[in-house]
Amino acid sequence: MRFAPTAEQQDLRIAVRELMRDRCPSSVVRAEPDDPAINGLAEEICRMGALGLLVAERDGGLGLDENYLVPLMVETGWAAAPLPLVDSIAFAPGLLSHAGYSDGPDYRKRWCVADPAKRAETRFGQPAGLLLRGGFGGTGAVQLVDLDTAVRSHLAAMDPSADVHDVRGGQELAIVDDPVLVRQAWQRGVLAAAAQLIGLARHMLEMTVDYVAGRTQFGVPVGSFQAVKHRLATALLAVEFAAPVVDRAGHSMASANPGADRDVSSAKALASEAARAVGREAIQCHGAMGYTTEYDLQLYLKRAWALAADWGSASWHRARLAGHLGMSLTGSTPAG
């Protein structure tokens, strides 16, 4: 029994963290989708082999499992990396391999955007050549669509860095309806989103701790006031008790544990709530400083809101968990 990352998992986390500190500062999160800095970040991530993290070695990937996916996503979440990482690294690989797209020569075809709920919407679609449509809840078929042939129009959204597009049509390249693969892809997407939320929550908390330690009012740092301390202690509790559940879900997936679906839903529910709760404390403890787009907190806050709602909201996953615990709700489950 050992509930801790291995040295290799720890190394991966550190490598990704360093890359993010180096190549994904807030200026990159704020950049236009076609900014060279974002392309540069995308290339670095490719160079690390991250897109092939979950791809078998014989198919040219790293052949790693979800125990590695979690730290990668925590760190990219921390940085709010403006790329479709959950889509491309977590959701896509099994589906693409099955459809014969895993090691295509075209690099753009390896960046994917996912639209599991078939909302006809994509986020961070700039580098992507493929759209994966369907699979919400881990059921149904997923359609592989050539994104270049689709009709795209920009949508205004709360999170301006998310580059949201309405996407219609597009040539269908393949369809994957293997229930095992679709379920796995969905669970990986959910897990990755949960892990990114942990990173975002930690980042917002770190920013807030720094801010309240430096901001002086009444002649003392505002962080010395007990009301502020208690809010941030509560925020830390939310993160500290969600993070191990996300780690656990990664392990359950990697070890093909029959409870994996339950654990992944547990992870997403808690991580979504933790990120939301930390976000609220963060904005409150910053005073007006957090309420301007000129200050960086909003980048992480808005990303957290979107990810909390995406890949099944906390309520959706709680309803699913209730089912796993043998207590089905009588009402209808909320839609994705």
Binding site: M1, L205, K229, L236, L237, V245
Partner: protein, 379 residues
């Protein structure tokens, strides 16, 4: 990550489970916070001791099994799953014993530990006083030097002493040096309650049971051999127990996992009352208990790797105590008027409300989390 149990651990679980199945009383014992219930619980403790289950993690010479932390967790899990009685020896075994292991002389360890394991000595914790609660360093009870007799004379009052009216011994902090030094000049004493000059008055807790006591000291003599750790170093010695009190050893995840599972079983029994809103709350309770379990698995792994939990035990304290309240409030909501009768859920509910108060209030824990874990300025 390796979440599998070794063969040795599995065998340990099987043995614990078999023993508990054969020995846990079929009918729940009367509350251990009443005089007759306490006696019944002491009998239970002695039965556990006889088969070496009372202090599994201690060395065999004191009645233990040298169980690893993992095995201890396994034992706790099985203990609560079997619906076994509350541990009225808890203050001794989980709070005093770790301190004795760390600060006791070999003679003290040889003398006190086996008697504690055997439930011959029954310990209560004498820290709080009428004027010293959260501000524990405001302790005024005194220990005056008696060189001639080779010991100390205790004067003053302790209060909120859990099961003090039924216990035989008290471990407590007394001011042995000048009171201006708040944290210094305190000494940690081991006091038999039948010492002349000690009087104990039991009084009821919220549930009406005589679970609290006030303990009065009027020139009560204790020999030097009953000082634990260095004289005047009692604060540091006592702080070593607060870690165990707040953290894992006080409240293992097994307790909450079992209660959450029982709550889910109640939902099935009470179907008409189990509205969607309630099912969502029950799910939330289960989820928090699950999170506490995952957190503690990571924590034990860190401990085994040699990282002391330090202030992180304050995270445990706040989390389990708030979880316990939510768990019982949800249960009472589900039970409706049945929850207003005297039963396990209503008792558990009343007791859960004390969780954020004892072992350092949650306000104090949040101060600690903010200052020591987040590094926010003290002033």
């Amino acid at each position: 990550m390796d979440l599998t149990w070794s063969e040795r651990e599995q065998a340990f679980r099987a043995e614990a489970k078999a023993w508990l199945t054969a020995n846990v009383p079929a009918e729940p014992l009367p509350s251990g916070d009443t005089r007759e219930g306490f006696a019944a619980h002491v009998d239970w403790e002695r039965r556990m001791f006889a088969d070496r289950w009372s202090v599994v993690s201690w060395p065999p010479e004191y009645g233990g099994r040298d169980a690893s932390l993992w095995e201890w967790l396994i034992f706790e899990e099985e203990y609560y799953r079997a619906g076994a009685p509350q541990r009225v020896t808890q203050n001794g075994i989980f709070l005093l014993a770790p301190t004795l292991f760390e600060f006791g002389t070999p003679e003290q360890q040889r003398y006190w530990l086996p008697r504690m394991a055997a439930a011959e000595d029954l310990w209560c914790q004498g820290w709080s006083e009428p004027g010293a609660g959260s501000d524990l360093a405001a302790i005024r009870s005194r220990a005056d030097r008696d060189d001639q007799a080779g010991g100390w004379r205790l004067t003053g009052q302790k209060t909120w002493t859990t099961r003090g009216a039924f216990c035989t011994h008290l471990f407590g902090l007394f001011r042995s040096g000048p009171s201006a030094d708040r944290h210094r000049g305190l000494s940690y004493f081991l006091v038999p309650l039948d010492t002349p000059g000690v009087t104990v008055r039991g009084f009821p807790r919220l549930d009406g049971d005589e679970g609290f006591a006030e303990v009065f000291f009027a020139d009560a003599f204790v020999p030097d051999s009953h000082v634990l750790g260095e004289v005047h170093e009692g604060w540091r010695v006592a702080m070593a127990t607060t870690g165990s009190e707040r953290g894992l050893t006080l409240r293992s995840p097994g307790r909450f996992k079992h209660a959450a599972d029982r709550l889910i079983a109640e939902v099935a029994h009470r179907h008409p009352a189990a509205t969607d809103a309630l099912i969502e709350r029950v799910t939330g309770v289960w989820l928090r208990a699950f999170a506490y379990q995952q957190f503690t698995l990571a924590q034990v792994s860190q401990l085994i790797a040699g990282e002391a939990p330090g202030a992180r035990s304050s995270l445990n304290k706040v989390y389990w105590s708030e979880l316990d309240i939510e768990l019982h409030e949800t249960a009472l909501e589900l039970l409706g008027m049945d929850g207003q009768l005297d039963n396990e859920w209503s008792r558990g509910f009343q007791f859960s409300l004390a969780g954020p108060i004892y072992a350092g209030t949650n306000e104090i824990q949040r101060n600690i989390i903010a200052e020591r874990l987040l590094g926010l300025p003290r002033k």
